[in-house]
């Protein structure tokens, strides 16, 4: 019996490692350890073993059983691994390019706009939107720009014929004309008329000037304007905000200076210059970047805010201009051509 057990193990050791399929394995398993298997048969012969040999023989049988089980386990594991491997193809070549499309991209103007909005959001400004087709009241009258002002001239502003009708853009007075907004300040007026101070808004959006298209001018372009109205808003607050915004956007080494200027709806008014030689293609000390000022009391009077109580500041910048500075783009028309080789540079 001892020999039989040894022979059984030897047979299993030679047979099991070469089994190639699961049915073969199941058959072999039955032959060795199944209810009618060889080991089972041998175990049943224990009764005929002399009593004094039984403990040694029992031990031997157990050892054989353990050994067979281990061989079977190994074989099963080997077959399962082979089955899984059969589900896969050959090994991949990781250096082949993915045939899937490249990632999509956001337009650089969107990226700059969103970055500015996010910077302003941190200090409490929320984004407001308004119609691009506007009326003379919201675009000019309410902004202290009298009918005789050159900015309103049809040479500079796009107007629609008197018959035009835009059903979801409300007119203040029926006889005023529709036009394409020349700045997003109209959104500020709409916000002021709709709400109550304090107000802290940013209005990014598309604006229109009747202008020759060239490397720095476009028939439409994008602006981002901010407005803050509260009690006791001062010139120093305005400077602090723009320092924060421009340094956040362009880096802390950026220097900002105010120059007195003139705008109809702010008093005092300033143009803002940047010193940012670390940016590409900035080759002079001071570069004009935006306009700003303290909201003119006449604008408050016009929207019915008490100008002895409320004060505020407003600022506005061209998104194209900022994007051109940040990325070193020298022609505004690239933004509107949308050549893929351009769009993919800014992701």
């Amino acid at each position: 019996m001892q020999d039989q057990l040894a022979e059984l193990v030897a047979r299993a050791e030679s047979e099991l490692p070469v089994l190639a399929s699961r049915p073969d394995f199941e058959a072999a398993k039955a032959r060795y350890v199944g209810p009618k298997g060889d080991l089972t048969v041998l175990m049943k012969q224990m009764g005929s073993v002399p009593k004094e040999e039984r403990p040694a023989m029992g031990k031997l049988i157990n050892e054989t059983k353990t050994r067979l089980q281990s061989l079977l386990d190994d074989t099963l594991a080997r077959l399962e691994a082979a089955e899984l491997a059969a589900q896969l193809g050959p090994a991949v070549d990781p250096t082949l390019p993915s045939p899937d499309p490249l990632p999509g991209t956001r337009h650089p103007l969107t990226q700059v706009r969103e970055e500015l909005c996010s910077i302003l959001r941190k200090v409490g400004f929320n984004v407001v939107e308004g119609p691009e087709v506007e009326t003379e009241y919201y675009c000019f009258d309410a902004l202290n720009t009298p009918p005789t002002h050159p900015a309103r001239d049809p040479q500079d502003t796009f107007y629609f014929p008197a018959t035009a009708s835009f059903t979801n853009v409300d007119k203040k007075v029926p006889e005023e004309k529709y036009l394409l907004r020349t700045h997003t300040s109209s959104v500020q007026i709409r916000t002021m008329l709709k709400g109550e101070p304090p107000i802290r808004i940013v209005s990014p959006g598309r604006v229109y000037r009747r202008d020759t298209v060239d490397a720095t001018h476009s028939a439409n372009f994008h602006q981002l304007e901010g407005l803050y109205i509260d009690r006791n808003v001062t010139v120093a607050d305005l400077k602090a905000l723009l320092d924060y915004v421009l340094k956040s956007l362009l880096g802390s080494e950026t220097k900002v200076r105010f120059r007195p200027h003139y705008f109809g709806y702010t008093e005092p008014s300033f143009e803002v210059d940047l010193s940012a030689r670390h940016l590409p293609k900035v080759n002079k000390e001071w570069v004009e970047i935006m306009g700003c000022g303290m909201v003119d009391p006449a604008v408050f009077d016009d929207v019915g805010y008490d100008s002895s109580v409320w004060s505020g500041y407003a600022f506005g910048m061209g998104i194209e201009r900022i994007a051109m500075m940040i990325y070193g783009i020298d022609d505004i028309r690239y933004f509107y051509q949308n050549d893929l080789r351009f769009l993919r540079q800014f992701c």
Binding site: R106, G124, V128, E132, P161, N220, A236, D243, D296, Q337
Partner: protein, 817 residues
């Protein structure tokens, strides 16, 4: 506006300042310096007056000469110089740049050999010394200065001209005196007014100037005219010519030049008539007659209209008021007696006429911006004094004047404490006072406010009519104090707890979605051609999207869709060989309807057929790709496309899409519209776009967005297993799958009692062998589930049978066996 540094020096002493210091001062006063130009010879070393002693032909070059030039003992006596100019002769005196000189443009003079002949310097043209444009020949010094004299002593002094942008609120700075006044204030120096000593007038000469009538006082608040007899027309003196030339005004003769000079000095335009050409010695300020014509000084005949203000004599118009004189009355070389006009015209009248005639001038530019009516007598006196001085003659009689002579008076109350509260930083009372006084804004009364703080009454001078309110003086104080003194602070301010606008939020979500679909965001112009507007805009031939005043023909209409722009950009990229997956844009569109145009927020995308070879294949995008994207775009806007199939359609929005290969949903009357599928192949061909193009477009009224704030509620779901049954229905080939699904769902819902038909999923569409012609088979998987138990086969089978029976009885569909 060009401002000469030499000229400024007449009114304020800036001699110790560099050009850069002056430029910076102008900048911080609030005027942008757009350029600084140096005219005349700069300070030059080793450039002296020389005399040509001999001139011989160069042996090796036809066009060159060899000269001996005397440059004075101190400079080495006589130099041998090779010269290419032809305009000089022996004995002429010319500028000579000696070895070691550096000419403008960093041109260094060294000993050299020219075609084999040594040359010890260079004789110079005017242009080489920056004193003129003449490059052809040498600058011949006709007044023969001493040989050896340093050239700067022999040439007129150079000048520096600042080109500065005057903001529209500061018409008072459209002249040298105005800018000098600002600089005097900035540097806290004295302002010296020009002399205007005028000899006593002779008696009046009605034969030169008899009468003055203003028939249109609404457009001409003040008109003055003065006669001057016995003038001699000749060139102006050198200094006046140089100043005019420096600021870009061509000198003509003394009379014309004086007018221009005083305009550039005081900002007051004026006009000189030849008295002999005035019919009946009368000046009439009136509007043009219907059909009247005038030939202006630029020799063009102008058609006048009755809204245009004219200066006329007894018979005819002689000047387009404030803009340009007529040929029929101006001064000429023969003029001996003149009439000088100094007047004020209404800004908007001048501007309207100027625009209408397409004619503008230095004069009209100033009138359009406004002049100081109260400074008119001073400018007149200055012009007359210069006339007498430079052209001789005598002022005859009093100046005739028509118009208001109400003296200027304006005062503004100002609290220095309030100024500080506007600025947000400390500027002392004394500093504020000093700032105001530097600008001639004098504090004429000092009172006390209720709280005991000072309250000043500030007098505003007539040339500063832009200053009207206390806030205007805050700006003046800050300007004088310097904007560089605004302190650095950190941002403060309360949070206002408001969300961003729904349109902005929507565009962000839409952009994120489409970028996730590998699309590239693009940005196109809103203005497009009328043809494009009609092609995408609707069934009207002339969509009401046109501008009244387009600037260029191909940007005349608002876009009714984003698709036209996207296809243009696709075409550009195809033409340039740029492979891409697709493009998208978010932005405003303008959708016409019967009632008018609605401005909408919109998003659109295009996905061209992918023709690029690849080493392994991918499933191409198809109609249903676009469908899923548009469904998601709509969902972000709070619109469920699956529930909106039966709304009436906006036909216009579907223009441009391929028949049978797209679907249109929604209606602008409901506030939104959606279209997706293949774009019209014929149109693509017309646009030059290659291959098929899949697209999607969704537009919604901005006011519809942001009404989607409902928060989702958790729905419990069963933990018991589902039971599945499959069924295939044979239907007419034209039957939309949506109808079949709906019918099946209805049957399933009524058949499943005590449990739920959880899902009806279409998994196969088949047409062909085994089916009758004109039929197709739709195969569905039905999933049943109960919330509280595992379903038994019998109850599921019973329900399934009921469904099949229901289909057979209630629909035209048959169950495929």
């Amino acid at each position: 506006m060009k401002i000469s540094r030499n000229w400024l020096q007449d009114y304020v002493d800036l001699a110790d300042l560099t050009d850069e210091q002056i430029s910076e001062a102008i900048t911080f006063l609030g005027f942008e310096v757009e350029g600084i130009e140096t005219t005349g010879a700069p300070a030059l070393e080793n450039v002296v007056v020389g005399e040509v002693l001999t001139r011989e032909q160069h042996p090796n070059a036809d066009r060159l000469s060899i000269c001996d030039v005397s440059v004075g003992e101190a400079n080495g006596g006589t130099k041998r110089i090779v010269c290419g100019a032809q305009n000089y002769k022996v004995g002429d005196r010319v500028p000579v740049a000696l070895v070691g000189a550096v000419l403008p443009g960093d041109f260094k003079i060294k000993p050299s050999k020219i075609r084999g002949e040594a040359s010890e310097g260079m004789m110079c043209s005017g242009k080489e010394l920056n004193v003129g444009d003449d490059h052809a020949g040498l600058l011949i010094l006709t007044d023969r200065p001493e040989v050896g004299t340093p050239i700067n002593e022999a040439l007129p002094p150079g000048d520096v001209v600042f080109d500065i942008e005057i903001t529209p609120n500061r018409p008072d700075c459209q002249c040298h005196l105005g800018v000098a006044r600002e600089l005097a204030a900035w540097f806290r120096r004295e302002l010296v007014y020009p002399p205007a000593d005028l000899p006593a007038a002779a008696s009046a000469r009605p034969d030169l100037l008899k009468a003055l009538k203003v028939e249109a006082p609404e457009d001409c608040p003040v008109y003055t005219a003065t006669a001057v007899a016995g003038v001699a027309v000749r060139p102006s003196p050198e200094w006046m010519q140089q100043r005019l030339a420096a600021v870009g005004v061509r000198p003509i003769n003394n009379l014309v030049d004086i007018g221009n000079y005083v305009m550039l000095e005081y900002g007051q335009p004026m006009h000189a008539f030849d008295a002999s050409k005035l019919a009946d010695q009368t000046i009439v300020v009136r509007h043009a007659h219907e059909g009247e014509m005038i030939v202006t000084l630029d020799e063009k005949e102008r058609q006048l209209t009755p809204d245009m203000l004219m200066i006329a004599d007894a018979e005819k118009s002689v000047v387009v008021a404030g803009i340009m004189g007529g040929e029929n009355s101006g001064v000429s070389d023969d003029t001996t007696d003149l009439v000088l006009e100094v007047a004020a015209f209404r800004r908007f009248s001048v501007r309207a006429t100027s625009r209408k005639l397409g004619l503008s001038s230095d004069s009209s530019y100033r009138f359009e911006r406004g002049i100081d009516v109260h400074g008119l007598p001073e400018a007149t006196r200055r012009a007359l004094a210069l006339t007498v001085d430079l052209a001789g003659g005598q002022v005859c009689g009093e100046t005739l004047r028509v118009g208001s002579d109400v003296p200027w008076e304006r005062e503004v109350e100002l609290s220095p404490a309030w100024v500080r509260s506007r600025l947000g930083f400390d500027v002392s009372d004394d500093d504020q006072r000093a700032a105001l006084e530097a600008l001639d804004l004098l504090i004429i009364h000092e009172n006390e406010a209720e709280d005991g703080s000072p309250l000043w009454t500030v007098r505003i001078p007539s040339w500063r009519s832009d200053l009207d309110r206390p806030i205007d003086l805050v700006e003046e104080i800050l300007r004088m104090h310097g904007t560089a003194t605004i302190p650095e602070r950190i941002v403060t301010g309360p949070g206002l707890l408001v969300e961003d606008d729904p349109v902005a939020e929507y565009n962000r979500k839409a952009g994120t979605l489409l970028v996730g679909h590998s699309l590239n965001e693009s940005v196109s112009y809103t203005l497009r051609t009328g043809k494009d507007a009609a092609a995408w805009g609707g069934d009207v031939a002339e969509p009401p999207l046109g501008l009244d005043n387009p600037f260029v023909e191909d940007q005349s209409h608002l876009r009714p869709s984003l698709m036209g722009g996207l296809l243009d950009m696709l075409h550009l990229n195809q033409a340039r060989g740029n492979a891409m997956h697709g493009l998208f844009e978010t932005g405003r569109v303008f959708i016409p309807s019967d009632k008018g145009v609605q401005e909408c927020a919109a998003v659109g995308f295009v996905i061209p057929e992918n023709t690029a070879a690849a080493w392994t294949k991918r499933e191409p995008a198809d109609f249903y790709t676009a469908k899923r994207i548009v469904e998601t775009l709509a969902k972000h806007a709070g619109v469920d496309l699956s529930r909106q199939l039966h709304l009436p359609k906006d036909k216009g929005v579907a223009l441009g899409w391929q028949e049978g290969q797209h679907t249109l949903q929604g209606n602008m009357a409901f506030g939104w519209t959606a279209c997706y599928g293949l774009l019209d192949l014929a149109r693509l061909k017309e646009l030059g776009v290659e291959g098929k193009v899949l697209g999607g477009f969704f537009a919604i009224l901005p006011e519809r967005l942001g009404k989607t704030g409902k928060r989702s509620r958790f729905q419990p779901f069963s933990s018991h297993p589902a039971a599945l049954r499959d069924v295939a229905l044979v239907v007419d080939e034209n039957e939309p799958a949506g109808n079949v699904t709906k019918a099946l769902a209805k049957q399933a819902k009524s058949a499943a009692k005590g449990f739920e038909a959880e899902a009806i999923e279409l998994f196969d569409v088949y047409q062909g062998e085994g089916l009758p012609d004109g039929k197709k088979s739709l195969a569905y998987s039905l999933r049943f589930r109960a919330g509280d138990r595992t379903l038994r086969d019998e109850e599921v089978n019973k329900a399934f049978t009921a469904i099949l029976e229901g289909i057979a009885r209630k629909t035209a569909y048959t169950v495929r066996q």
